[in-house]
Amino acid sequence: MTDVQEAPLLEVKDLRVKISTKAGTFYPVNGHNFTLNKGETLGIVGESGSGKSMTATSLVRLLPKHAAEVESGSIELEGRDLLKLSEAEMRKVRGSEIAMILQDPQTSLNPSFTVGNQISEALSLHAPGPKKTMRERAINALRKVKVAAPEHRVDCYPGELSGGMRQRVVGAIAISCEPKIIIADEPTTSLDVTVQAQYLRLLKELQDDTGMGIIFITHDFGIVANLCHKIVVMYYGRIVESGTVERIFAKPAHPYTEALIGAVPKLRGHEGRLRTIKGQPPAPMETLTGCPFAPRCDKADSRCFNELPPTFDADGDGEHLASCWRVIDQ
């Protein structure tokens, strides 16, 4: 992407998250490797339950207590392994260096505190300043995310705002401390098309301004195609394919990716039938040998059922990886 090869902003290596429940254990994040550079947007796509949110929350170390834990791997933020930080240090990282925008704008603001209150709380934790200026700074943050009449809105409770506006407030909280990375977990699924478009535009502008990295979790291929530089495709807790948007859309290497893209109806142009993926994703605790996608894959052969494919370099330049036996077979 960029000419000068900088050190990556975030580098995730062999990350494994284990969930233990009464019913058994499983790995919703199973050997993740990916990097995020400055000013770059990484999209994580996959069906529901594939482990996207788990990946995101493990990055900020907010996995559900008791149930989940990081079993191995490292998460390096500018060379610092987040997994080795103490809880207090990690708390400083959260919000100030890595911010997160959660799925549902309706519920991700605390209904009992004013918008200004919630923004300045983040500010006072990471960029403390005199109390008097807090309100001013909160208004500024709102202004940045293009909330109309921020002087007035700052004193509103979340319940008094529309969905789109609430999501922008969440955005304001996220960017208020100028983080290096924003992780956005399906931030627009509950928004209208038009509002979604506005919001995405806003994110893009902010990224251009600050050069932050964005990790975008979604199952909407429209967003991925329009917003992201790189894509990570997840299936059953694993990354089955990763690479740049252009390459993956142009020539998906994994049949799963191919099927997903094919299953999306196109806004322009008509085709006969939509492509479908037969069956359903496996249940988390199901024990599978071989490629987890094999039972649903049209192209699977006996090897697919018996041996788990390693990650292959699809195009030979390290920019497009896929974990499918077909890659080397071709």
């Binding site: 199952h219 196109k266 359903q280």
Partner: protein
């Protein structure tokens, strides 16, 4: 496609009185649907699109007799459905069915699948239990489920399967029209495509008509023959899907389409930026309700006078002062 309308909607309006403010002391009126006019013919799919809160669900509920209109009529085979009684009402009930958005909440968790699916049949028609079983099997088969699934409970099924069950229940009474209120929004991409295909197949097989409410414009384009674009309770543009999508007339339709993201990174889109906030249905703007956000605002007339819906071009109609000469 024959051209006999199954349903004719005439000047249909639905207004809600809501109490607002602390302690609900103020009463305001929400005009959820105002002066709607459309028809739906045999084997036809009509889509209602528009922003959240524009009145799509309300409209479908009026058609389903879940609510009574404030004014206007809905004619089924030429007869006002509000005057239907006895067998005629039963006939309407069994010929007009629905599939809702959320596959988790639209099936009673305490009822066996077989009983759930057969309900429209049992309450409207006198059929023997053998016949019921046969029809249940047939319906389940049509949506790709197995006969033995009839004995199971809903919680044993995934979201996609549940939506199939809901569809099975909707087709068991051999309806002519099924109203689909966001039937795929709650589903994963992969399952969504299965269901969309299923709708197409069923339409071909049973000659169904659909009224589809969908957020996703791509799905709409894929399924619908005609589309009606709604804004704050009013239809602002109506016409054949291809015409409307390829050459939108109303500025709102334009903006809406431009905001839709195509799942193709190579496709360049020039988004029409919509300014301003989504207005509250409690305080709709004067004149044309869209004027505060309109990129083709042409002057005072927009903010003072509400435009009427006029036909425009081939089979399209639009409600905008731009086309009012």
């Amino acid at each position: 496609m024959t051209n006999t309308p199954i349903l004719q909607v005439e000047n249909l309006s639905k207004h809600f009185d809501v109490q607002t403010g602390i302690f609900k002391r103020e009463t305001k009126t929400v005009k959820a649907a105002t002066d709607l006019n459309f028809n739906i013919c045999e084997r036809e799919t009509l889509a209602l699109v528009g922003e959240s809160g524009c009145g799509k669900t309300t409209t479908t509920q009026l058609l389903l007799k879940l609510q009574n209109p404030t004014s206007g009529r809905i004619l089924y085979d030429g007869e006002d459905i509000n005057t239907l009684k006895g067998d005629a009402l039963k006939a309407y009930r069994s010929r007009v069915q629905a599939v809702f958005q959320d596959p988790w909440s639209s099936i009673n968790p305490r009822v066996r699948i077989g009983d759930f699916v057969s309900e429209p049949l049992i309450v409207n028609e006198k059929v023997g239990s053998n016949e019921v079983d046969r029809r249940v099997n047939e319906a389940l088969d049509a949506v790709g489920l197995r006969p033995q699934d009839a004995r199971k409970f809903p919680h044993e099924f995934s979201g996609g399967q549940r939506q199939r069950i809901a569809i099975a229940s909707a087709i068991i009474s051999r309806p002519r029209l099924i109203i689909l209120d966001e039937p795929v929004s709650g589903l994963d991409v992969s399952i969504r495509s299965q269901i969309i295909n299923l709708f197409k197949d069923l339409q071909a097989e049973y000659g169904l008509s659909y009224i589809l409410v969908a957020h996703d414009l791509a799905t709409t384009r894929y399924l619908a023959d005609r589309v009606a674009v709604m804004y704050l309770g009013k239809i602002v543009e109506q016409g054949p899907t291809d015409d409307v999508f390829d050459a939108p007339s109303h500025p709102y339709t334009e903006a809406l389409l431009s905001a839709a993201l195509s799942a193709d990174p190579t496709e360049k889109r020039d988004e029409i930026p919509m300014t301003g906030e989504v207005p509250s249905p409690l305080n709709p703007p004067s004149g044309c309700a869209f004027h505060p956000r309109c990129h083709r605002f042409i002057g005072d007339i927009c903010s003072t006078q509400a435009p009427a819906l006029r036909s425009h071009g081939t089979g399209c109609s639009v409600s905008c002062h731009l086309y009012n000469q």
